[in-house]
């Protein structure tokens, strides 16, 4: 399971993740405040230039972008069909711009760097009882569990095949759920043993 991060270094890779995130939030809000088609067309041009400037780094996200543009096009066609060409232009351009910004951030920033920014942003909440370290631990746990789901499913499926000669299919959902819930209890015990009071 890879992320959409691209190893092709671009000028945007050199920006700190925090600055990119702040720009993204600002520009994203601005996009939703703009409502004149010409202004959004300018924004779309700027986004296209941004995309161009990232060069080969955008390759990993090309399929994603095509599907986003197809969705934007469908929204536009829908509004044209409703007889609202202005709304068609505005909503399609806005979608395309916002998605380009998001993808540009994603291909140029490592997920771990974004998590560090998230950690820093959550730090003030520590005084309210929410611990950023715990969020990171939970993300790591989540990824580990995701893998474990597949391992467990395969094991159950093999056992079922041995008994009946057929693949288990949907019948395995029930035992899988129960096993995973019990596994979570054991992980909880382990966490308590390591971190408990």
């Amino acid at each position: 399971m890879g992320s959409l991060y691209s190893e092709h270094l671009t000028w945007l890779h050199r920006w700190p993740a925090g600055r990119k995130l702040a720009c993204m939030a600002l520009l994203g809000t601005l996009l939703f405040l703009l409502s004149a088609p010409w202004a959004l067309a300018l924004a779309a041009l700027a986004c296209a230039l941004l995309w161009r400037s990232l060069g080969p780094a955008t390759r990993v996200a090309r399929r994603l972008m095509v599907s986003v543009l197809a969705a934007a096009l469908l929204v536009a066609v829908f509004h044209l069909w409703m007889g609202r060409p202005d709304v068609a232009a505005v909503s399609a351009l806005r979608l395309a711009c916002a998605s380009t910004l998001g993808v540009a951030l994603t291909v140029s920033t490592r997920p771990t760097d974004l998590l560090l920014v998230l950690d820093a942003l959550l730090a003030p909440l520590a005084r309210l009882g929410l611990q950023p370290g715990r969020v990171s631990l939970q993300l790591a746990l989540m990824l580990r569990f995701t893998e474990h789901f597949f391992v467990q499913w395969k094991r159950l499926d093999e056992a079922h095949r041995l008994r009946t000669g057929r693949p288990g299919g949907l019948r395995l959902i029930a035992p899988l759920t129960v096993q995973m819930l019990q596994r979570a209890q054991r992980v909880a015990d382990a966490l308590y043993a390591r971190l408990g009071e």
């Binding site: 992320s3 994603l64 505005v90 974004l114 611990q131 993300l139 759920t177 308590y192």
Partner: protein
């Protein structure tokens, strides 16, 4: 990780991570694309299960954790989508709705009767229909109207396509809850105190 955790907290942490992982697994199952950029996915089943099995608070946290991972750029949404861009797509209303819908489903599950496994399953069905279907779809429609500038009646129509599939998911959720209620009789459905 410097502070100590209580038994209850470590329990919550493991379960929250487990259900966030369940959402990720359901996203890795191939999706069916519909026009207007809203795909059919198994992920709403994950929302219902999180609500019914974890309760409002932890279900909500599990969805937040999953959405945080998505926002950080992991391609965990159906079809390998991820990153901040998806929160500005037409279907963003459904994404934000995941967290709130898990909360609503959990709160309802807590209120509904759970005497026998069968009664628990019936309650899970009702809670998923109201929280995971009606509420989640209302959020999705709001997203379509606000983000894709779609008129309300058209957004409603676009959304209706998903209702039959999601009703099937409500039944599946009830079946899973029934199994869990039989296998783990003291499971705190809807986050009830034991």
């Amino acid at each position: 990780m410097t502070t100590a955790v209580s038994r209850k907290t470590s329990h919550s942490m493991a379960l929250v991570a487990l259900f966030a992982a369940l959402m990720a697994v359901m996203g890795l199952i191939p999706k069916i694309d519909l026009p207007l950029g809203v795909p059919i996915t198994l992920q709403s089943l994950g929302v219902m299960l999180a609500g019914c099995l974890l309760g409002a608070r932890r279900g909500f946290q599990a969805m937040l954790l999953f959405l945080a991972a998505v926002a950080a750029g992991l391609p965990l949404l159906a079809g390998g989508r991820g990153g901040l861009g998806v929160f500005m797509a037409p279907s963003a209303g459904y994404l934000v709705g995941y967290a709130l819908a898990a909360g609503v489903t959990g709160a309802l599950m807590r209120l509904l009767p759970q005497g026998t496994p069968l009664r628990t399953a019936a309650s899970a069905f009702a809670a998923s229909v109201l929280g995971g279907l009606v509420f989640l779809h209302a959020m999705g429609i709001a997203g379509l109207v606000l983000l894709a500038q779609m008129p309300l009646d058209k957004a409603l129509l676009a959304d209706l396509v998903f209702v039959p599939g999601d009703l099937v998911k409500c039944v599946l959720c009830a079946v899973v809850v029934h199994t869990v209620a039989r296998a783990l009789p003291d499971w705190p459905f809807g986050g009830r105190e034991r």
